[in-house]
């Protein structure tokens, strides 16, 4: 039971396949409770898939996914929707409901899951919007917001129900430096102030390393390395080192596998 308390999310021997392609092969990941854990790796290595496995939007081909002491692949559809109330997700695009304004977007989880009176919902929404600094944008529609603001509204919506686990899908992609700085601060702040478990999926090294307590580097269907940011910076594993230091060539080659260059140019057609 102590292990269960220490880890909010545990993946045990998880494999996942899409079509004939293996995305994960026998992966073990443990996310400590109350910390910011980052999952990093090159693009297309299945980081988002990992979040969807934890959110039970995808079922693993093999293995167990434990969240707060529940084995997700074994749950019924209704139990899953119930479990997800304890989770918040910040999607890459924000995923605000385009037909609702900012206030209604943040109020949405409260309206569907609670019987709170309108007054109280209003107060909660204002508090959440204040936390992300967008209380003034109350009446705007999502298409009137900038990309960074959309993400902050989505963040306010994700924390509306005070979840225990908060997942961020590529929160830094396509953000200007100011918006990036705001998000970095918000993630750290929300984690510490609300005592939630944060999972950040990203390939933006500097920002992620600056807030993460613990890092996983995934790639090539495996967990390549794990540890604190400092430990990973000095990793012995050449693939981890290539990723952490951002060298263009290495175990992950610069060239996509191809026939011999010389033969291709000079050979018969």
């Amino acid at each position: 039971m102590s292990a269960e308390n220490k880890y909010a999310v545990e993946l045990k021997g998880v494999s996942f396949q899409r079509g004939d392609r293996a995305i994960f092969n026998n992966v073990d990941i443990r996310i400590p409770r109350g910390k910011v854990t980052a999952i990093m790796g090159p693009s297309g290595c299945g980081k988002t898939t990992l979040l969807r496995l934890i959110g039970a939007q995808l079922k693993p081909s093999r293995g167990e996914v434990w969240v707060n002491g529940l084995n997700l692949p074994k749950l019924s559809r209704a139990e899953l929707f119930d479990m997800r109330k304890q989770m918040g997700v910040l999607f890459q695009s924000g995923a605000l409901f385009t037909d609702l304004d900012v206030f209604e977007n943040v109020a949405f989880p409260l309206r569907v899951h609670t019987q709170l009176p309108d007054e109280m919902i209003r107060d909660i929404v204002l508090m959440k919007l204040q936390a992300v600094g967008l209380r003034g944008a109350l009446d705007l529609m999502p298409d009137e917001l900038s990309g960074g603001m959309k993400r902050r509204v989505a963040l306010a919506r994700a924390i509306a129900l005070d979840p225990q686990i908060l997942m961020y899908d590529e929160p830094f992609v396509g953000q200007d430096p100011i918006a990036m700085g705001v998000l970095v601060r918000l993630i750290r702040l929300l984690n510490d102030a609300l005592g939630i478990t944060s999972i950040v999926v990203s390939h933006d090294l500097a920002e992620t390393a600056s807030i993460a307590d613990y890092l996983y580097v995934v790639g090539d269907t495996q967990v390549l390395g794990q540890g604190t940011p400092e430990e990973l910076m000095n990793s012995e594993n050449p693939r981890v080192r290539q990723f952490m230091q951002g060298t263009p060539d290495g175990p992950v080659p610069f060239h996509f596998p191809a026939a011999n260059y010389r033969d291709d140019l000079l050979g018969e057609r």
Binding site: R52, G55, Q57, R77, A78, F81, D82, R84, K85, M87, G88, V89, F91, Q92, S93, A95, L96, F97, T98, F108, P109, R111, V112, H113, A154, R157, L161
Partner: protein, 265 residues
């Protein structure tokens, strides 16, 4: 070499067949879950009203305009043919029967597929590609209940109403042409119509037809949106598929239904 390529073709054919079966299975599970699955969707009446508006009310204009024109054309064509046999007064019954049995349900379904069906597919596909559906699921709201079910019900309710409005407007347009322009005696126009149109055989059968069409067209539209590849090309392809599949399904089913309903006399 030749042998393997034949075998390969058979394999591809089998693969295609399996894909079709898989899609049918997925869409059936999808439909059953959306309509009968457990789970709350909050204020479902409010959602239904919103969808009735965007699916039904917004299709009203195109339905009414097409109905008037089709009724008028039917009347003109019918008159010129019937006049050769000296039975112009039968133009009323011809217009009414054609509209009630065939054109009302079928043309409404085709227009509905083009107007509301494609919009449904594009809207749901867009929600999928912008992760709104995933986001709903992660908030703990079943998108099948919250997004899909109200749209399905709105389609089921709207289309028979639209088809009846189409028929009424068409008959009115036909009467206008026949009585006011072509000089068919108004009394015999309506009397002929009333004596040959039976409520159960013609009106209700037409309504049953359009219920079936409503079911199929809305199902196809909503499923294509939900099942599409979440990219802009994926959405545009799904929208095209909705219109093509829905139109073919309507025309095919119309033949079967007509054979079942009116085939034995």
């Amino acid at each position: 070499m030749r042998k393997t390529s034949t075998l390969e073709r058979v394999r591809l054919f089998g693969r295609a067949g399996l894909d079709v079966l898989a899609t049918l299975g997925r869409s059936t599970v999808f439909l059953l879950r959306a309509l009968f699955g457990r789970g709350s969707s909050g204020n479902s009446l409010q959602l239904l009203i919103k969808q009735l508006y965007s699916v039904g009310v917004m299709s009203l204009a195109i339905i009414v305009v097409s109905g008037v024109f089709i009724g008028m054309v039917l009347s003109l064509q019918g008159f010129s043919i019937l006049a050769k046999y000296g039975s112009e007064q039968a133009v009323g019954q011809m217009v009414a029967l054609t509209l009630l049995r065939e054109l009302g349900p079928v043309v409404t379904a085709l227009l509905f597929a083009g107007r509301a069906g494609s919009a449904l597919t594009a809207e749901i596909g867009n929600m999928k590609s912008t992760e709104q559906l995933s986001s709903l699921a992660m908030i703990g709201v079943d998108p099948l209940k919250y997004i899909v079910a109200p749209r399905l019900w709105a389609g089921f309710i709207s289309m028979p109403l639209l088809a009846m409005i189409f028929s009424v407007v068409g008959i009115w347009g036909g009467a206008m042409v026949a009585v006011d322009w072509l000089g068919v005696y108004e009394g015999s126009f309506w009397a002929n119509m009333q004596s040959s149109v039976a409520f159960r055989e013609d009106v209700l059968n037409g309504v049953i037809k359009s219920l079936v069409f409503a079911f199929v067209v809305t199902w196809i539209a909503v499923f294509q949106g939900y099942d599409c590849e979440p990219t802009s090309e994926g959405i545009s392809r799904a929208t095209t598929r909705t219109v093509v599949y829905a139109s073919l399904a309507v025309l095919g089913l119309d033949f079967i239904l007509t054979a079942l309903m009116f085939g034995d006399f």
